[in-house]
């Protein structure tokens, strides 16, 4: 009845029309005792104390909120590429995507606005939103490459592959590119020395893998003493080159391998 007084409401409701719904994320109550009926177009009767006894219908703040759909404005690591419509938990979407301006609400205009152009589709910058996670894991670990102490060997990609498998990472030999210099053994001077090789993820992303050589013998008496948590200790470079130089070297090499 009183709604009629307000003139602006009608104008405003027109703009609201596109899919706005009533939501309740709060205490929803109802009266335990209904108040008596009052005359139409008159004020409600004076209520008694029992009419203020309420019962909880539902508390929607403990209910699970549905996912929120947004359009990504740019590539977001672990979420998606530009123009993707993703549906995620509302708090994550609001705090991590909408507020930093990485995404916009899913409206027809926004979908059209942030859709990928032809030129952008052709230039592939990221193979997948999750590839960077793999790169991060590979770059964070120190890989122990355990070689024979008694037999002669030359370090090859399959050694790295086996060591990675021991560490719980499975990859093809084609993905692994070794440093340009030959590494031969057994040589106890090379024990616990560091070198870098490059792993190519999805034929696109490159990860620098830190490896350390350790010697191991089948004869238990021949084995080197075990050093506790040796991967946490600093180590010398094996190839006598600075880290940056080896990185460049490997980067040059990798296109051949891929």
């Amino acid at each position: 009845m009183l709604k009629n007084i307000c003139v602006t409401q009608i104008n405003l409701l027109k703009s609201v029309s596109n899919m706005q719904q009533q939501v309740r994320t709060t205490f929803v109550l109802k009266r335990k005792y209904e108040p008596l009926l009052h005359k139409t177009n008159e004020k409600p009767r004076k209520m008694r104390a029992k009419h203020f006894i309420y019962e909880l219908v539902e508390d929607t703040s403990v209910k699970k909120q549905p996912n929120l759909e947004v359009v990504l404005k740019q590539f977001v690591q672990g979420v998606g590429d530009k123009g993707d419509v993703v549906s995620l938990r509302p708090n994550f979407v609001y705090n991590k995507l909408l507020l930093p301006g990485l995404a916009a609400y899913k409206t027809p205009e926004n979908i059209a606005k942030y859709a990928k152009t032809e030129a952008e589709k052709n230039t592939l910058e990221h193979s997948s939103p999750y590839a960077q996670r793999t790169v991060n894991v590979l770059e964070s670990i120190t890989l122990a490459v355990i070689m024979n102490k008694d037999e002669r060997w030359v370090l090859e990609p399959w050694h790295i592959r086996a060591s990675l498998r021991k560490a719980g990472i499975y990859c093809n030999e084609e993905c692994i590119s070794m440093p340009s210099q030959r590494i031969e053994g057994p040589d106890l001077k090379k024990e616990n020395k560091e070198f870098y090789c490059t792993i190519t993820v999805n034929n696109l992303e490159k990860a620098r893998l830190k490896c350390r050589i350790h010697h191991w013998s089948t004869d238990p008496s021949e084995r080197l003493p075990y050093v506790l948590e040796h991967w946490k200790m600093p180590a010398e470079p094996l190839l006598g080159l600075e880290d940056g130089a080896t990185a460049n070297e490997t980067a040059e090499l990798t296109p051949k391998s891929t």
């Binding site: 009845m1 009183l2 709604k3 007084i5 307000c6 003139v7 602006t8 409401q9 104008n11 405003l12 703009s15 609201v16 899919m19 706005q20 719904q21 009533q22 939501v23 309740r24 994320t25 709060t26 205490f27 929803v28 109550l29 109802k30 009266r31 335990k32 108040p35 009926l37 009052h38 139409t40 409600p44 104390a49 029992k50 203020f52 006894i53 309420y54 019962e55 219908v57 703040s61 909120q65 929120l68 509302p90 609001y94 909408l98 507020l99 609400y105 409206t107």
Partner: protein, 303 residues
Amino acid sequence: MAHATSQGPKLLYGFKRPNRFEKGLGAQLPEAYRKFWREWKLTTPAAVHYIPKDGQWERDEVTNEIKPIQNIPLPLIDPPESHEGIWGGESVIKGFQKRQQTKRRVPHFWVPVLKRSVVHSQVLNEYMSVVVTERTLVQIHECFGFDHYLLKNLACDLRSSLALKLKRKILQELEKGCPALAADPGHQKEVLKEYSRYLESYTSEEIDWYGHTYLEAIRKLQIQLKAEEKVVPHKVEFRSQLIEQLRKAGIAEAGGSDASATKDAQPSAEHKDADIEALTKLESSPSSSSWLSKINPFGKKET
């Protein structure tokens, strides 16, 4: 009898107490503010804390009795804190719980769960840390943005003076053409295009008076009234009157000062002094003729 009173025949239906817009300064508040007041205070807000029944009539399931449906809203309390945050239409409910059938009712307050979050206004180009409820955020998502949420919803549904103040600011900014986004003209154009449809339902005076509480509106009105009436000291007023009178009477000094107004400031000031001297002479001339002026108590005694 009725015709003799100021309220006229209205008295027939009982004495009507003047409300805040019919007495005192409130009567001078413009129609623009009253419109906002109606939107804010006299409109029934959307049902947040109860589920309204649909339809006009309902049938009792047991007795098959037909009764009209009368949705009486739950009385809500807006604490001062609710005006410092944006609670999205929620407020405190004061009432009772009947926890056991055989026990007395227990007073209880249902208070919304509050949290601090950041909201982003595109029009103002600003991030704000405000106290919100989950419902506010859900509504922001449903309206596709904080600005849309403020502009779409009525004042009675926003239920917070902070939100209303922001709404006024956003409307003012839109009216000016978003100077906050002047650094990026393309983006500014887009924002204006997106939000300008909200400006249709307001005139610029309405925007100016939007979102003020009653006390703030009165203060605003007082400032306006004060600015309108300029107080000129009587000294200045009376002097100009007198000079005018003298000019009419045809006194040469009074007319002369006006003629020399085109000259530099320095000589005109001298002329003014001359005027004053002339005036004092004029004033003193009748008194000099009286015998009292001849008595000088501080003068040297003639022996």
